[in-house]
């Protein structure tokens, strides 16, 4: 007994670094990536996404096949590009878009993250579509195909419905856009979020879906439902800047206008 205790101690000391990395490192890193992704989104801060992308690069330089790093590299760059688009920073958009697209393409080849990466790739294409309507014919078809593939790979992925809903909401009715259809997609997304394991490797989008439900309701003129959705979003993420400082005050001011 004593001997085996000694042996265990020796083994522990000798392989301590390996244990440390494998028992905690893998999950710890994924959790760190998730946490940074979450922080970046709610603070709407491209710097955090750049840090996230940099961390992913370091992981990938060390471990080329790290699927989580591959995915979060794609995700962080997608967010950097979308922030650039909102800020109308064309230089940044042009610089990071190829990185975002390439990373999403690479990640979609990994079985574990294929469904999620295809969803991010579709979201990237949506930005191109928003910038240049002349590409609508080919790109919209590609977006539908990617979202369809993502759904087949993982029917429980709520982000497919989130992205599809956003596309439906922002597409003119003549091209198949519809706020009602978008709301239906968001509702499906919420159902899937509710059923999702919070420990899964990718978990972004819940509060964002609620925000988009609010926007869709605003578009439909249903200001009360919009306010409720924004409050739900804040309940889920109290520091959700987009909702807290922009969407909720807007709808509340409109509601006040209606009351008067």
């Amino acid at each position: 007994m004593k001997k085996s205790a000694h042996l265990f101690l020796i083994m522990f000391l000798a392989f301590q670094p390996i244990f440390a990395f494998n028992s905690n490192g893998g999950n710890e890193i994924t959790e760190r990536l998730k946490s940074m992704a979450r922080e970046g989104y709610f603070q709407n801060d491209e710097k955090i996404f750049m840090e996230l992308s940099a961390l992913c690069d370091r992981i990938l330089a060390k471990e080329k096949e790290n699927a989580a790093a591959g995915y979060y590299k794609a995700y962080s760059n997608y967010r950097i590009v979308s922030i650039a688009m909102v800020k109308q920073n064309d230089t940044m958009f042009d610089l990071y878009y190829p990185v975002a697209e390439e990373a999403a393409n690479l990640s979609s080849e990994n079985v574990d993250f294929a469904a999620e990466a295809k969803t991010v790739l579709a979201a990237n294409y949506m930005m191109i579509l928003a910038k240049d309507l002349s590409e609508a014919a080919s790109i919209s078809m590609k977006i539908h195909t990617l979202l369809g593939e993502a759904e087949v790979l993982n029917p429980a992925n709520p982000r497919v419905n989130l992205i599809r809903g956003t596309m439906l909401l922002n597409t003119p009715p003549a091209f198949g856009g519809s706020a009602a259809a978008a709301l239906s997609e968001y509702e499906k997304a919420l159902e899937k979020f509710d059923a999702q394991d919070s420990a899964s490797n990718v978990n972004w989008g819940y509060a964002e879906t609620l925000a988009w439900i609010g926007i869709a309701n605003m578009k439909n003129g249903d200001l009360e439902s919009a306010e409720l959705a924004f409050l739900d979003a804040l309940n889920a993420e109290p520091e959700f800047g987009w909702v807290k400082y922009q969407l909720l005050p807007t709808v509340q001011s409109k509601l006040k206008g209606v009351e008067k």
Partner: protein, 737 residues
């Protein structure tokens, strides 16, 4: 044994503790661009570890790592080359200080912003006009040239597609497609110029147009450059079908190997009969104008940096127009064929040099028949061109290159001996003239950013030389440009340069020209202010002066000498982007004063291109996402012309000879035109993207003049309307599959 084990255990613990106590080391430092500016957001890390940090706004970083005897620190960032530094860690080292200077990763493919007076579809070059805007410009017929003519710097001399740049003759502007020169890029080319482009707008990736002060890259051209890049391999498969009252169009974009190899084919057949019938113009033609063109692009990306591309344009047209002249009425028949082949290879050499090279051949054939005029023309151009761009640092870049061109023009047939007598039995000059011209051009220019330590000051300086072996002529053209950025959004620019170009090659024919003519010369001064709110919104004011010397001038003894001269001076203004009341579009105004003493003008006189005021206003209003309405309002001063004051009867030839007044002493009435376009976007069968449009050209039916036709004795004159001198309605659709 027990003691031994205890000792071993203690030893292990001791070394483990040393391991953790001694090897933590702080890595700190700064990252700057090669120009010395701090670079934020750089990923600095130790190779094969997760230890690292991102540089902050000042470019500084700090992190700790477990030291080894040797550590490799890497700095990397999107858009920059990664840099790696290796450190030997000596015992006792607690801190490493490291400085990185990152160089740009990609070579700037776009030209520098410096040269004044340009607008293009490429960003950072000034005012932007995109291929989508070309497609949607009311009255622009989705044509590159017709749409460009709504921009400043282009004078509205006629409704043809030819580009009259700041008082320059159309031959003073060159069209370049994927590095190859094309001298006949138009359909329906007559002596008054062509009407539309042979190159399909959908094939265009980027356009760069300069109306003065352009780079030394462009030689043997005096006034303007239209440099077009076509699209590379498609990413997505796409088919477009377009049909209107004037044309049928079919486009196919087919990726063959994803992101590597693909082709695009754009085909168009025009048939103007329905439109002529609808607009009551059928009786003015013996053969209603028709044309067809195919643009084919095959592109192969053979490596991360290398691409080869074939560009082919094949076009043909035919027309028979009834002409009424004082001495003769008949039909002008014109047919033409254009074949253009270009093979281009792009790659990166030595990591910092981008090379573009092309081999091209273009062949133009046409025939003109009207009375005694019976002329066949062939014009073939072989060209070899190589452009290199070496980036030494963020501050210094060099562009240099070489081009060789051989042009072979052949005229066979008969032309009237007297301009005023084109009757079938009139006296004629029989022609069989072949003119072969060769040119070798070299250029080099340096772009300096942040010169003399001034971050906002950028400059380009370069020189080019062109040599014409057969004429034993050599020209040297120094050019210079300066930009001072007042802010991220506004700048002042100045450009100066010398430009040379050979006169029309027909003037070198020994019988009625002068084989010893020299190149024409122009000196440009361009000064501009530009403000760009964002990619879509901009405003620019530009002042220019262009002085011509060595222009060809008629000479009693040697037919032509080089004593002609002239000038063009004026200002251009353009406001482009989002306008009040949910409108967008652009407003462009140009003022010009240009005079020349050249050809048969023996005094300094307003040239035929002296259109004092040019105003274009393109307004588009998005009613909703599905409907858009657009207006194109044009106004320009009347074109100068030389009046016929009387005539003299030539009894032996039984014809009146017109006697002209002072050169260009009168002007046609001002040109006014309003075009309207209504566009409806929709989706067919739930999946096909469709555009429906209705276009009204000259909707106010303003009878603009092309010129006058005269009675036999020239005592009475009658108006001849311009191409679009009557209201014309076109309806069409385009469907993407």
């Amino acid at each position: 044994m027990k003691t031994n084990f205890k000792s071993f255990l203690l030893l292990c613990l001791f070394f483990a503790s040393i391991n953790y106590a001694q090897t933590k080391i702080i890595v700190k430092g700064n990252v700057v661009e090669s120009s010395g500016i701090p670079l934020p957001y750089v990923n600095v890390y130790v190779e094969n570890t997760l230890d690292g940090a991102m540089s902050d706004e000042d470019g500084s970083f700090t992190f700790s790592t477990d030291s080894d005897t040797t550590i490799t620190i890497i700095a990397s960032m999107v858009g920059y080359k990664s840099e790696k530094k290796v450190f030997e860690v000596k015992p006792g080292n607690k801190e490493i200080n490291v400085e990185f200077g990152l160089a740009p990763d990609t070579i700037e493919l776009e030209e520098a912003v410096v040269m004044g007076s340009s607008f293009s579809s490429e960003k950072e070059k000034g005012i932007i006009i995109s291929s989508m805007e070309v497609m949607m410009t009311p009255g622009g017929a989705a044509d590159i040239y017709q749409s460009l003519k709504t921009m400043p710097g282009l004078t509205n001399v006629s409704e043809s597609a030819e580009l009259y740049v700041r008082g320059g003759d159309p031959i003073e502007t060159v069209t370049i497609i994927d590095q190859a020169s094309i001298y006949h890029p138009y359909t329906y080319e007559s002596s008054y110029g062509g009407l539309f482009s042979n190159l399909n707008t959908a094939a265009v990736d980027a356009m760069y147009f300069s109306s003065g002060g352009f780079s030394t890259k462009y030689g043997n051209v005096l006034s303007g450059v239209l440099d077009i890049s076509t699209k590379n391999e498609p990413i997505n498969q796409r088919f477009d079908l377009g049909i209107s009252m004037a044309a049928l169009q079919l486009n196919a974009e087919i990726p063959i190997v994803d992101n590597k190899f693909g082709m695009r084919i754009f085909g168009m057949q025009s048939f103007t009969k329905p439109i002529m019938w609808l607009n009551g113009e059928l009786d003015e033609f013996t053969t209603t104008p028709s044309s067809n063109n195919i643009t084919a692009l095959i592109s192969y990306k053979y490596s991360e940096t290398g691409r080869m591309k074939f560009t082919g344009i094949f076009a043909a047209d035919a027309q028979g127009v009834k002409i009424r002249r004082a001495e003769y009425s008949g039909a002008f028949n014109g047919n033409s064929n254009t074949n253009f082949y270009n093979f281009q290879l792009n790659d990166v050499l030595f990591e910092n040099t981008f090379i573009k090279s092309s081999v091209s051949f273009s062949q133009f054939e046409n025939l003109w028949r009207l009375g005694v005029l019976d002329l066949d023309q062939t014009d073939g151009t072989y060209k070899l061109r190589m452009d290199l761009e070496t980036t030494f640092s963020k501050q210094l870049k060099m562009d240099y290159g070489i081009e060789g061109e051989m042009r072979n023009q052949h005229y066979v047939g008969a032309i009237p001996e007297s301009e005023f007598d084109i009757r079938p039995d009139a006296e004629k000059v029989v022609l069989d003239a072949e003119i072969i011209g060769q040119r070798i051009g070299v250029y080099g220019e340096l772009t300096f950013n942040n010169i003399v330590g001034i971050k906002k000051l950028h400059a380009i300086a370069g020189v080019r030389s062109d040599h014409f072996p057969q004429l034993n002529l050599t020209s040297f053209d120094p050019r210079f440009g300066l930009v001072y950025k007042l802010s991220a959004k506004s700048n002042f620019r100045f450009a100066w340069g010398i430009f040379h170009q050979l006169p029309d090659t027909r003037l070198f024919v020994p019988t009625d020209g002068n084989p010893d003519l020299n190149s024409m010369k122009a000196e440009h001064f361009v000064f501009s202010y530009e403000y760009r709110g964002n990619k879509n919104n901009s405003i620019r004011l530009e002042l220019f002066q262009k002085d011509y010397t060595d222009l060809p001038l008629e000479d009693e003894n040697i037919n032509y000498n080089n004593d002609g001269f002239g000038y063009a001076r004026g200002l251009d203004f353009v406001l482009k982007g989002d306008l009040p009341f949910n409108l967008d579009g652009w407003l462009s105004y140009g003022y010009i004063n240009t005079k020349r003493k050249w050809m048969d003008f023996d005094k300094l006189t307003s040239s035929g291109f002296d259109i004092t005021h040019n105003l274009s206003m393109i307004l588009k209003y998005n009613i909703n996402a599905m409907w858009q309405i657009g207006l194109n309002v044009k106004y320009s001063s009347g074109r100068p012309f030389t009046p016929i004051e009387s005539s003299e009867y030539l009894a032996d030839r039984k014809i009146y000879e017109p006697l002209y007044g002072a050169n260009n002493s009168e002007r046609y009435p001002d040109y006014k035109r309003v075009d309207l376009r209504v566009t409806h976007l929709n989706q067919l069968f739930g999946k096909y993207f469709a555009v429906f449009y209705l276009e009204g050209l000259n909707i106010l039916n303003i009878n603009n003049l092309f010129g006058y036709t005269y009675s036999t004795d020239y005592k009475q004159k009658e108006k001849v309307l311009s191409y679009f001198g009557r209201r014309t309605i076109v309806i069409g659709t385009s469907i993407s599959i």
